[in-house]
């Protein structure tokens, strides 16, 4: 029996990480906020990937969440951070509800390609919409929280950090509970062989659609965070290379442990931040080599570094992010 973290322990961890933000230097705070929001969207990809479908177009929901929040904030002056997260999640979720059932019948590469195509359609539409600022996007005001506004930059950054860490943390806890649930195991079964799942009386399409919805909600919320942290939104949110980076984090993390997603996301942000200063033209190279290394040596992601699983063949939450072709059931 694997030693599993009790949800209460995880809540304590989340609280600890939040409080740790008080001692972090200011520039790390905004970095950590971006890392937390990237972790959230990567988590969504991991949730979806457990059904065997990797989405290369999460940028669609990411941008939808961001633009939705930005428009509402600028039109009605709604700046509350918590409300913005909920709106972002709702925008992503609404879109996911509509699109999910349409694409649930595809698998593997076609699924990926379709999500990619849809995000690029959205990108093209955003680029050409002058009302939304076209390719330049537009700015948004400072977020507040529960009526309190923060003028001191450090306090404002900490507020964002705390909100993003708490929301992402709770999403992680929810995901962990999901993974251990009956629904979570059914999702894994869909990846193995969705036809057999149908024979067992479950609807594979419905399972995929629900996982897709969850991924879309996470992506929309993440878009709201990115918007709050940068105070700026542009169509680049929906470009395929943005989606590619989220997939990168998901692959790096693997689906062994939810904590690995945060670590992977933070690692990416740190590399990106320092590489601009020291290796201006080689950070993509570093990223690419890193990705290859992970796929080669840590196919189950960096989470496998600290979670030991028993027999590898056993179908469980320890299976790799991408299944092996021809694996025996």
């Amino acid at each position: 029996m694997r030693k599993e973290l009790h949800p209460l322990v995880m809540i304590v961890l989340v609280a600890a990480v939040t409080l740790f933000g008080r001692v972090l230097p200011t520039w790390t705070l905004s970095l950590a906020t971006v890392a937390a929001s990237n972790a959230l969207i990567a988590l969504g990809i991991v949730v979806l990937a457990r059904t065997g479908n990797v989405s290369f177009g999460q940028g669609l929901f990411f941008a939808a969440g961001g633009y939705g929040v930005a428009l509402i904030a600028n039109t009605w002056g709604l700046t509350d951070a918590a409300a913005q997260v909920i709106i972002g999640a709702a925008c992503g979720g609404l879109l996911g509800l509509v699109i999910g059932p349409l694409i649930a019948r595809y698998s593997g590469i076609f699924f990926g390609m379709l999500t990619l195509a849809l995000s690029m359609v959205f990108y093209g539409a955003l680029m050409k919409s002058t009302a939304l600022g076209g390719s330049d996007g537009f700015n948004v005001g400072r977020p507040s929280l529960f009526g309190m506004s923060f003028t001191d930059p450090r306090e404002a950054d900490f507020m964002l950090y705390a909100v993003s860490v708490i929301v992402t943390g709770f999403a992680g806890i929810a995901a962990t509970i999901l993974f251990r649930s009956e629904f979570g195991l059914a999702s894994l079964a869909v990846r193995e062989n969705n036809l057999r799942v149908e024979y067992l009386g479950l609807s594979a399409n419905r399972i995929i659609s629900i996982n897709f919805l969850i991924a879309a909600i996470f992506a929309g919320a993440s878009g709201a965070f990115a918007l709050m942290a940068q105070r700026h939104i542009d169509p680049q949110f929906a470009y395929w290379t943005t989606s590619g980076e989220f997939v990168f984090v998901a692959v790096l993390a693997g689906n062994q442990s939810v904590a690995a997603v945060f670590v992977a996301s933070m690692a990416l942000e740190l590399v990106r931040s320092f590489s601009n200063l020291y290796l201006p033209n080689t950070w993509q190279l570093v990223l690419g080599v890193f990705l290859l290394g992970v796929i080669l040596f840590l196919p189950r992601g960096i989470g496998s570094l600290w979670i030991r699983n028993g027999r590898r063949r056993r179908i469980s939450t320890t299976a790799p992010l991408t299944a092996e072709r021809g694996a025996t059931p």
Binding site: P25, T26, W27, S30, L31, V34, M127, K128, T130, G134, S135, D136, G137, F138, N139, R142, P153, A156, A226, Q230, R231, H232, I233, D234, Q236, F237, R272, S273, N276, L277, P280, N281
Partner: protein
């Protein structure tokens, strides 16, 4: 145990003393001024703008730190403080630049950030600097929106914006009796391209009433291939083809359109093309009307300051300075003037952000490109003179010469304070002081 406590107590006292000493040390001339510089070091804007800007910065900072600049900039560095540049790449998108700006202020502790070429980047970073209450000097981006859509206390732009380029262009065309009953346009689809096009068309409607806009294209920034667009433009056969394209896009456009006869069918008018002349050479058709977004490069006016800059830059870089190098220089010189003005008011100490902001507001200073005056947006937006000319290839020198140069004063082609640029143009350009 006793010894441990003794040594640790000694260590604590020693470090406390050291910290106190460091904090108490007065700001002396040995202190340096950390200047964050953001410009395109990679990507499509690097070769034409970003790298010349960086080269300009390096040349000027070297000269200033040696005290080798001419009057009134003879002091070493900024008021005796050596300038320490921290140069980062503007590439990667507006959202990334926002994070980089924070890093510069909070992690690298720069005193002022100066730079930004991309209009999208400028629009994104300005509010952040304002929030952080840190000084930001925008040096190159052209969209008029920066100060027309928001008010800033900590943000400045030391160069005139795109309105000057386009109003000036129309005035030049009128002065040279260029026929324009029909007009086509091709511009990049983002703030710079859209605003340039809007300003040019509005100004054209004022000075060429009844002009008809035929083919109006807005390809994506960085498209690089314009086969279909050129077919549309050549097919339209307008009197004038206007473009604010720049960098690699402009070079590609010229290379693809000239063999197809566009320059023979229509008069080509480019608002910001000086920087493509060195690389294009004889591929640039003669008689193209170009602007440089200022009186820069081969259109610059003679002055001791310009001689120092033009010749010095050319000696170091083996190519004459183009617009981005000039604009970077006027930004740094303006900041120097502001810092020294603040220091003269506070008794010679290194000035705080608020002191520098107060000094720069409404400031005027000479530059290699002419007099820079911070007259718009409550003293935060500059106006400056501009020049236009026609291209003519010089086979002996193997470079493109500029002929028929005409200058326009700042108040002739820039809007007056308090009115939006596009409104000013559409209202008939009231208050323009042209000679």
């Amino acid at each position: 145990m006793n010894r441990f406590r003794r040594t640790s107590r000694a260590a604590i006292i020693a470090s406390a003393a050291a910290t106190l000493l460091a904090l108490a040390a007065p700001a002396s001339a040995q202190e340096s001024f950390k200047l964050g510089i953001v410009t395109f070091l990679s990507g499509p804007a690097a070769d034409s703008f970003g790298v010349p800007a960086r080269n300009g910065a390096q040349f000027v900072i070297d000269q200033l730190n040696k005290g080798a600049a001419p009057s009134p900039f003879e002091k070493v560095g900024f008021g005796g403080m050596k300038v320490e540049p921290v140069i980062i790449d503007e590439n990667g998108g507006a959202t990334k630049q926002v994070q980089e700006l924070r890093n510069l202020y909070q992690r690298d502790n720069v005193d002022v950030v100066l730079g930004y070429i991309g209009s999208g980047d400028c629009l994104a970073v300005a509010p952040i600097a304002e929030e952080l209450k840190k000084m930001l000097v925008l040096m190159d981006c052209g969209t008029p929106r920066i100060f027309e859509e928001s008010k800033y206390n900590y943000v400045f732009r030391t160069a005139a914006h795109a309105t000057m380029d386009n109003v000036g262009l129309i005035r030049y065309m009128k002065a040279k009796n260029i026929k324009m009953t029909t007009l086509s346009a091709i511009n990049q689809d983002y703030a710079w391209g859209q605003d340039s096009r809007a300003d040019f068309v509005a100004a054209a409607e004022q000075l060429y009433p009844g002009v008809k806009l035929q083919t109006d294209l807005l390809p994506k920034f960085g498209a690089g291939q314009y086969g279909t667009e050129i077919s549309a433009l050549v097919g339209a056969g307008s009197d004038v083809v206007y473009s604010s394209l720049w960098g690699g896009d402009l070079q590609a456009f010229v290379l693809q359109s000239v063999p197809r006869g566009l320059s023979k069918r229509s008069q080509l008018v480019f608002s910001a093309a000086d920087h493509v002349l060195p690389p294009l050479g004889d591929k640039m058709p003669d008689g193209t009307i170009i602007g440089a977004r200022g009186a820069y490069g081969l259109m610059s006016q003679k002055s001791p300051l310009n001689d120092w800059f033009f010749k010095g830059y050319e000696a170091v870089n083996n190519v004459y300075p183009v617009q981005a190098s000039y604009r970077m220089t006027q930004a740094i010189l303006g900041l120097k003037a502001a810092v020294e003005k603040a220091m003269s008011k506070n008794g010679g100490k290194k000035p705080s952000t608020d002191e520098m902001v107060a000094a720069m507001t409404g400031l005027e200073w000479p530059s290699p490109g002419g007099l820079i005056q911070m007259k718009l947006a409550d003293g935060h937006q500059a106006i400056q003179p501009i020049a236009f000319s026609r291209t003519k290839y010089n086979p002996d020198l193997k470079r493109v010469d500029l002929v028929d140069i005409q200058y326009f004063a700042a108040e002739c082609v820039n809007p007056p304070p308090g009115v939006k640029a596009i409104d000013w143009i559409k209202g008939g350009m009231q208050g323009a002081k042209c000679n």
